[in-house]
Amino acid sequence: MTILFAVTATALWRDVWGHPAAPSSAPLLDAQFTNTATLRMSAAELIRTGGDTSGLTCGSCHDEKKKPVSVHFNADGTIRLPEEHKDLVMQHGRNNHCFNCHDPSNLELLKTRDGTTLKVEEGTKLCGSCHGPTLRDWEAGIHGRATGFWDPRAGARVKADCTSCHDAHSPAFPPIKAAPGPNLFRASLAGAREGAH
């Protein structure tokens, strides 16, 4: 405590004379707070970047041609999932039924309500089949994030997939970690003293 006080006092004293504060007094920021990656990796992104796609292969356990998959329910109407799917949390409101989105005759495909089948990396179209207005905003670059170039003459604009931000099964945007706030001591050297705090 005494040491801290002494350090503080010294720094303030040095500042009075307009000396630069020692650069080492600024701890480096954790790189996660300047990382531009989206919250999660969509299936499309996994495939595009050659990531681990083993979670998207259903055939290692299921053979839906021989043994059709059926959805099991608990007494309260919620879906009962086997141990093998325990990391999957189903919380999509009324839209909880697996086959609202997955194709029962080929688990590795997605299927919209009107029967259109989609590849697993086409999740955005699936979401859009029920969330029309949101998809419209997304296409205009308003919902979700478009990065790269605002000027099409200079380069491409890349839109993040729905599942880069939303887990298809529990789509609510989860709470995230906040980056450090202003360091009132270091900021005070710069300007808070006169009331900007």
Binding site: A26, A140, G141, W150, I176, A179, P182, A187, L189
Partner: protein, 331 residues
């Protein structure tokens, strides 16, 4: 949070004398004024410059003295292309000496038919502050003392009163219940009070709507800081420190090049990126997609879509600043 940074009555231009305001009367605040007014009034003959150079030579050892070349440089708007090339070369040399790397520095001009606008969706923003830090990294802001262009205010639900905003929330996990978050940065006003109060024309509005600062011309009087209703301007009390390995070498003259002590800086919509067609750094890092940026003169841009389709508002509309920074709720 008080609105005016100036303790003198009246604030802004009413403040008496340089250095007497706010009680930071160290030399950095007013010395350049004397130097500049001296230089601007006198027509220096070549021999005069040589004599000046000789008399300055011992001072050159001091870190914060401007180089002779910087000292006699003309106003930005009067620089010819070859003057500018000389200025850029000087900056390359200074950066090389101080940081050990040669920056990619350009003097990027506004693009024809482009006027920038920013829109921020307050329904989406969760207050994670990643924008604050991406901005610091992109724009070579001082880490210690700490300078940040973006302030994220945690606002109690149901109010727009900025005085009730808290930017020092300490929560680990965001968002918190009962609050929304409002990031505030330079609004690039169409009617900017900061520009009007500058006594030396060191800050002005460009054709694409960005209000810029020439750090070589700024005398550090801080009138602009006091005049800004959005607390968007920051003053370098001490020599800014940026760790060598963190310096962003992609620089623009009116943008993120390293600043000296004693000058004002602020958000310039990342002009080193945006005038090259890219999105600003705060937008690129936002995990929620709350931040939208683009050319309002292009009807196909995101910002045009938002102004057409969402109910947008500006902060402190009553002060007549006409911000180019819009907020909206998305329901």
């Amino acid at each position: 949070m008080s609105e005016s940074n100036c303790k003198c009555s009246g604030g802004g231009p009413g403040c008496s004398g340089s250095g007497g305001c706010g009680g930071h009367g160290h030399e950095g605040a007013h010395a350049p004024l004397t130097r500049r007014s001296f230089l601007r009034k006198s027509t220096l003959a070549a021999s005069g410059i040589a004599a000046l150079a000789a008399s300055l030579a011992p001072l050159r050892e001091l870190t914060d003295m401007p180089s002779l070349q910087e000292f006699v440089q003309k106003h930005y708007k009067e620089l010819t292309p070859s003057d500018m090339e000389k200025a850029l070369e000087r900056i390359r040399g200074e950066v090389q000496r101080q940081y050990g790397l040669r920056p990619e520095i350009k003097d990027l001009k506004p693009m024809d038919g482009v006027e920038f606008v920013y829109c921020l969706n307050l329904t989406r923003c969760v207050g994670c502050r990643k924008c604050v830090h991406a901005c610091v990294a992109e724009n070579n802001q001082s880490r210690s003392p700490e300078i940040q262009y973006i302030r994220v205010l945690k606002m109690p639900n149901g109010t727009f009163d900025l005085e009730r905003g808290d930017h020092d929330y300490k929560t680990e996990s965001v968002p918190e219940k009962g609050a929304y978050y409002m990031p505030v940065q330079c609004h690039q006003c169409k009617n900017p009070p900061c520009v009007k109060v500058c006594p030396v024309d060191a800050t002005w509005q460009e054709a694409d709507g960005i209000t810029v600062i020439d750090y070589d011309w700024c005398i550090g009087c801080r009138y602009c800081e006091a005049a800004c209703p959005y607390w968007a301007r920051r003053f370098n009390f001490a020599k800014p420190s940026v760790p060598k390995e963190k310096l962003n070498p992609n620089m623009a003259y009116l943008g993120n090049r390293p600043r000296p002590k004693g000058v004002v800086e602020k958000c310039h919509f990342c002009l080193q990126r945006t005038r090259a067609g890219r999105y600003p750094a705060c937008l690129e890092v936002c995990p929620t997609g709350s931040r939208k940026f683009g050319n309002i003169l292009d009807p196909a841009s995101e910002v045009s879509y938002i102004l057409r389709n969402k109910r947008v508002f500006v902060l402190k509309e009553e002060v007549g600043t006409l911000p180019r920074f819009f907020y909206y709720f998305d329901i």
